[in-house]
Symmetry: C2
Subunit: 455 residues, 2 copies
């Protein structure tokens, strides 16, 4: 164990650029379409929701986009994040493979979401926005945006799905600590919310309703915009700082990964760590495998269809070309709330279609088993989302044993589990189950897409 | 803002020694007494509970005690911890003072407690112990010991005060994740527990009962010992790694503190950061002020008496010479559970008596106000205990403004608040109150000490 546990960088080594994989993809992504006209949407369609600089990033083909000094300055509160060599996990697994993990849980809000939250808040601030609205389900994204808005002295209104609002009071308290306003959704503040409440006063809410409330408030109020925590190109762009740091850290460690692994919900976590390594493949002849891990209960990459669908379950967004189970697909209530998304970001979808990345689906019991083993070996309790990456690491190690190889494995430990301990308790209590989907389940959401363009 | 936010050390720079302030105190501490004979206790009195190496550390006069390689190896999972320059807090407070904080919340269990837990588990392991028992109230200590025992492949039985067991299920789940057994106390596993349950089946338990259960199991079972998370000399010793790292980090920063601040419950957190700086005073002519901050609802240092008292509320320990409110003093249910202790460790008490440290008591509303301001400025949500140190930082800054000085301030941010968000929610909801003690309150515990030796 002479190699160090933590490979650290100094603040001066925080990367100066995000990496825009659109510059290097062999096949460009298909354009998003207006659901009414079925024509490609333009910047003006998105302007009511997002500042122009983010809209530009959404379609940019520049390879590198400079990280503003003001954003880097805030990143310094927790970045560069450590990359760990998992010596104790290697010993536990009795493997000759080398295992590294990047730990994004050191961010103030406890996950990688803060990387894009700060960037989005900054660009909004620069364009005179006073308030950002958003929705949150599990709470990670709302927490990150609350932190970021506070840093720039902006207001933040978070519409939190009613059932999460009631079941996760700690999340609300953290957002309040950062000065954000947190509203149980549906609320009586919006027409969308009032309509729902009128017909069902005791509804537990949904992410779709919360999105519609946040968008309504952004569209109807001056100096107010809306922010999204995953899926869109600019969100994935901001997360690439994770992988850019890993490139530097691998160099310091005198190593290079054979495989990079991360969970995939919308795609920003996976993109964050893998895209800079994919650049090494696309431009420099490397052959890093990039493996996205989705929950078996929401297997858009491995069992979905590549076609146009809405990015949100409410049908407010443009139609996006992506692997999807259909925006009406309702995933089982697994504990990795951040992975319960019907589609995969346009960029990740195109890369999978072009066989530049891999995808695998894993059931939650296997993930929690791996997560507990990891916690015992390395000390850190992983967020339920992150356990999906760990489970795949275990599979890679097993495969390597069978093949007699010693790969170098890197995975993204995207957040800690301190605020998700109910999930672990349920696991220990035997209350968690795997969810095996039937062909009927898998088609339940797709069939509603008949009216939208196929690819 | 050209100075960095984080002053980091490499793993090779983890200090090789703990600092034993007993070597340098102008007046030695008085001996602990057997409550029956009133004579000094010897090693044999403590042997049923603790391994001999820890008993030796308890009375050692060696200045430096080497940290075993096996312990340093585990420390590397999170140590050295970062020391932050609080640029944003300085700006918020509009001060010319320089503010630094050491952040112990990066430890796997989320607080400084892990430093001694690992050391104690190691020495027990070396002496053939298979299981360690302990009690936990708020849960920080139980979590840390669970982590540590797991690292050495030992069993850990945690007796958790019933009301905490019910109100803090997340804590139990974390301990279970590390493989510990967690029992609501009183339990039916011990005679002490069964006796209580027979007379009061619905009792909410107490730390005193939990201690008696843990001790009973340690005494009655082979290869089983007991561990304590604060107060004792060897516990304070192990925490000095915090201050030893700070000495190195201050050197890297080209700075040196005028004042070092930490909350004081039993004393290990305060001792951890301050004792190495007190060595600079005692041996090298420095004049660092060391300020211990206690809750105004439990003011043993500022309003207690220096006299012999039990270390625990149940009366099982030897009589210790310390500042105390009496072991029957029952502090108000403030949210900083880790500070609700009737006495102060023997070492901290003697240092205060000799005017080598300072003490101040602060009400909880002032602490939470400071804690929220800190979170907004620096991002990290502090544990309620830690907010006491922050409140004192705010006072020092105000004093410096009035005096026209620019001191360098260092405080110990001993843990994060992710598992204590109910406290913040109660604060936001206006449910928290200050607790002003009457003279009668202050004497309520002291009057029961009449039969024990005065100093």
């Amino acid at each position: 164990m002479s190699a160090p546990y933590k490979i650290l960088l100094t603040e001066n080594e925080i990367p100066r650029n995000w990496y825009n994989i659109q510059a290097d993809m062999p096949n460009p992504t298909l354009p998003p379409l207006h659901p009414g006209t079925k024509q490609p949407v333009g910047p003006q369609d998105l302007a009511p929701l997002f500042p122009m600089e983010l809209i530009k990033q959404e379609v940019s083909k520049e390879r590198f986009i400079e990280i503003p000094d003001e954003v880097r300055e805030i990143y310094k509160l927790w970045r560069p994040t450590p990359m760990f060599r998992a010596h104790r996990l290697e010993k536990l697994l009795d493997t000759t493979a080398k295992i590294y993990y990047k730990y994004e849980g050191v961010s103030p809000s406890g996950s990688h979401k803060t990387n894009t939250a700060v960037a989005q808040a900054y660009y909004n601030k620069m364009e005179g926005v006073k308030k950002i609205t958003t929705e949150t389900g599990a709470g990670q994204w709302g927490t990150a945006l609350s932190f970021a808005c506070n840093m720039f002295g902006m207001e933040c209104d978070v519409y939190m799905v009613r059932i999460s609002y009631d079941q996760k009071p700690y999340r609300k308290a953290i957002m309040n600590s950062y000065g954000a306003n947190v509203y149980a959704s549906p609320s009586d503040r919006t027409q969308a919310g009032r309509n729902i409440l009128a017909s069902d006063p005791t509804t537990s809410g949904s992410l779709g309703i919360a999105i519609s409330e946040a968008i309504e408030m952004a569209v109807q109020n001056d100096h107010t915009k809306y922010a999204l925590g995953s899926v869109l190109n600019h969100v994935l762009l901001h997360q690439t700082i994770i992988g850019e740091e890993c490139l530097l850290q691998m160099e310091k460690a005198g190593d290079f990964p054979d495989v990079v692994i991360a969970p995939l919900g919308g795609g920003s976590n996976f993109a964050g760590i893998s895209f800079p390594f994919l650049r090494q493949n696309l431009l420099h002849g490397k052959k890093v495998r990039a493996v996205a891990v989705e929950p078996a209960s929401c297997p858009k990459l491995t069992q979905g269809e590549f076609r146009y669908d809405f990015g949100d379950s409410a049908g407010y967004t443009p139609l996006l070309p992506m692997y999807t189970l259909g925006h009406n697909f309702f995933p089982a209530a697994i504990h990795a709330g951040g992975l319960r998304y019907h589609g995969a970001s346009v960029l990740c979808s195109q890369l999978l279609r072009d066989n530049l990345i891999e995808a695998v689906a894993i059931q939650q019991l296997e993930c929690f088993e791996a997560g507990v083993a990891f916690a015992k070996a390395e000390g850190i309790i992983p967020a339920p989302e992150a356990t999906h990456g760990i489970a795949q690491v275990f599979r890679e190690v097993q495969k390597a044993k069978e093949e007699g190889t010693s790969p170098t494995i890197l995975f993204n430990l995207c957040g800690h589990g301190f605020l998700d301990m109910q999930a672990y308790q349920d696991y220990f209590d035997g209350k968690l189950h795997d969810h095996v989907l039937t062909q009927e389940d898998l088609k339940s959401g797709i069939k509603d897409l008949a009216d939208y363009p196929k690819i």
